[in-house]
């Protein structure tokens, strides 16, 4: 993977609006055949960065290269390698799907029009291609947008929040499509999202952007390993007593970010307790619980999620 060609690179991108710096010094590289996740809360500067990547906005500082071509100086040559959806799949609603694709094919070198049928089949729109886009669902428009982006056989695909507004089935479809495009066609895919789960399941590598700055980047595994997990999740009864006992071995986290069951009012019922206990002290801690007559149902060490990494890095700001 590391030897694959760099198809998209951002070098120290900076964009100011008035005296506010919306994007500061953002740099990353996307290689052929990988899915690169760009993760950050709404308003972190994701869309502004993407606008600079596709030449809609000029960076105040920094440079965008597409297959080595400087976007500022070789716009048309560079954009010939790019397919993009910025913000929303906005297409001409009064035209049919086919008319839209023909429209954008005419903006590409000859031959793009010949791929319309194949691409429509790939995004499962063949039977609706001659309907007006105004009758499409958001998911269909998203897929038509992707078909449009692929018309020019790009080496770089840029998708801005592709999961926005889609139902779970739609999200899964897009995710599978993205993975397939990277694996089968060797496209470097840049996906932005404010949804951790989305990026975690789709991307090979991730950059986290917060308040206009990239705070961390690396492979999903690297980032997960970074917040080395010493968390233990124990389901026990009575939960309150278990929490009290476990606090002797490590810090008990009362706020559980994921799938928390509420500990019932008086603390006498079933409950989940998450505590940070070093691995070698876990057996000792469990013995202490059992000695008190506390019933233990499950003990697990949840693997650290990107979300935890994210919360750690951004200082607990929710996404």
């Amino acid at each position: 993977m590391a030897s694959a060609e760099i198809v998209l690179s951002a070098e120290n991108l900076t964009k100011r609006f008035g005296d506010r710096e919306a994007v500061s010094d953002v740099s990353f590289e996307v290689r052929a055949g990988e899915v690169f996740g760009f993760l950050g809360p709404n308003g972190a500067g994701k869309t502004t960065t993407i606008r600079m990547l596709v030449g809609l906005a000029r960076p105040d500082r920094g440079r965008v290269r597409i297959r080595g071509l400087d976007l500022a100086h070789h716009f048309t040559k560079a954009m010939a390698h790019v397919g993009a959806i910025v913000e929303a799949p906005d297409l001409y609603r009064y035209l049919t799907g086919r008319e839209n694709l023909e429209h954008f094919a005419r903006m590409l070198p000859p031959g793009a029009g010949a791929r319309i049928e194949e691409l429509a089949a790939m995004v499962a729109l063949s039977d609706r291609l001659d309907d007006k886009v105004s009758t499409y669902s958001l998911g269909m428009r998203q897929r038509l947008g992707i078909a449009q982006a692929l018309l020019g056989e790009p080496d770089v695909l840029i998708l801005d929040e592709p999961a926005n507004g889609l139902d779970p089935a739609g999200i899964r479809e897009i995710r599978q499509l993205v993975r397939r495009l990277a694996a089968e066609r060797g496209i470097g895919v840049f996906v932005s999202s404010h949804l951790l789960s989305e990026i975690e399941q789709t991307a090979d590598r991730v950059a986290i952007i917060h308040r206009g700055r990239t705070l961390a980047s690396g492979s999903v595994r690297e980032l997960s390993a970074r917040s080395a997990s010493d968390r233990v999740r124990v389901r026990a009864r009575p939960a309150a007593k278990a929490a009290e006992k476990l606090s002797a071995f490590g810090q008990v986290e009362t706020a559980v970010p994921l799938d928390a069951l509420p500990v019932s009012g008086d603390g006498s019922g079933d409950g989940l307790v998450v505590a940070r206990i070093p691995p070698d002290r876990v057996p000792e801690a469990l013995r202490a619980l059992l000695a008190e007559g506390i019933e233990v149902f499950t003990v697990e060490r949840p693997s650290s999620t990107l979300e935890e990494v994210f919360l750690e890095i951004t200082g607990g700001e929710t996404v």
Binding site: V54, T76, V86, M107
Partner: protein, 325 residues
């Protein structure tokens, strides 16, 4: 290269939107209405001799002039009209005679300062702003086509649409006019070149040309004026990025153009505004210009200068500005 494809794209957008059908409908309905109203009005005078009627009209105008309470701009018109009627009477030509071809030509005169520019605005005012409002500008400008070429294709397409509208208006006017007043008459002589020199009517420049020649010229001028309005509307569309704002601005300008010369004909600098120069066909036919000193040549030059400046600014802004909407 790919430029014809880009123009095809823009034409497709015109054709597939409702506005195109609306423009066609407006033209047909309006011209039909004018012909209907006109033929109704003429029926009443049918039994009168046109010579008697012309003389009566001249007497009425002379009375107004003697009255002395006329504003200066109307006085100029009255002097001119009097001379024109006199000229026709001397040559035994009915000054108000009408035929299908004459009606078709008159339509160009009547529509060049409001109707045709209005239709041009319907096309041009949202050529760019609609892309912003639909969000499609983000796709349009991230394709491997330079921004200048995108805008150029839009300018060409809107100019084609405007040309088509003017031609269509002429055809519809001839169809309705022909139905109401008869089809022949394209080679009939028409008198052109009337002029008011100072306070007196000056017939020295009057000459007769066949109607078809005159009509081609008049339509050419109306077409040119309308194209220029389109170019200026393209600029407002680029600058304002909102169809409503852009149409509103252009409408206000057009309306100001019809009011200004009447309310303040003394202010001569207004002849350098584009809106006061839209009735080019009128200036050519020789009806007295509302502002002293206006001629077809000056009018066409002023319009061309406005259009060129608008196109320059539109390109400069469109190519450079960040798309953040």
């Amino acid at each position: 290269m790919r430029f014809p494809g880009l123009v095809e794209n823009e034409l497709l957008k015109f054709a597939k939107q409702r506005r195109f059908r609306v423009v066609v409908l407006i033209l047909v309905a309006l011209i039909g209405l004018i012909v209907f109203a006109q033929s109704r009005a003429r029926e009443r005078f049918q039994n009168k001799d046109w010579r008697v009627e012309t003389q009566e009209r001249m007497a009425r105008i002379q009375n107004w002039l003697r009255d002395g309470r006329m504003p200066a701009s109307s006085r100029r018109w009255a002097t001119f009209e009097l001379g024109r009627l006199q000229y026709h009477l001397e040559r035994d030509i009915d000054p108000e005679a009408i035929s299908g071809p004459l009606f078709a030509r008159a339509f160009a005169n009547a529509s060049s300062y409001l109707l045709l520019p209005l239709l041009a605005i319907v096309f041009a005012a949202d050529v760019v702003s609609a892309e912003f409002q639909q969000g499609t500008i983000k796709l349009l400008l991230t394709r491997p086509v330079g921004r200048a070429r995108v805008l150029a294709s839009k300018l060409v397409a809107q100019s084609l649409a405007i040309t088509l509208t003017v031609v269509f208006g002429g055809i519809v006017a001839y169809l309705f006019g022909g139905l109401a007043y008869g089809w022949p008459g394209w080679s009939a002589p028409v008198l052109t070149g009337f002029r008011v020199g100072g306070a007196v009517f000056d017939p020295s420049t009057v000459r007769a040309v066949p109607l078809w020649e005159d009509a081609i010229l008049v339509y050419g001028l109306a077409w040119f004026a309308t194209l220029c309005v389109g170019a200026i509307a393209l600029l407002t569309s680029v600058l304002l990025r909102s169809t409503a704002a852009s149409m509103g601005t252009m409408l206000a300008a057009l309306i100001a153009g019809t009011i200004l010369p009447r309310l303040a004909s003394q202010w001569e600098a207004q002849k350098f505004l584009f809106v006061t120069n839209l009735p080019l066909p009128d200036y050519y036919s020789g009806s007295p210009p509302p502002i002293p000193g206006l001629t077809v040549e000056l009018g066409a030059t002023v319009l061309a200068a406005w259009a060129a400046a608008a196109i320059l600014v539109a390109f400069a802004v469109f190519v450079r500005r960040d798309v953040l909407a």
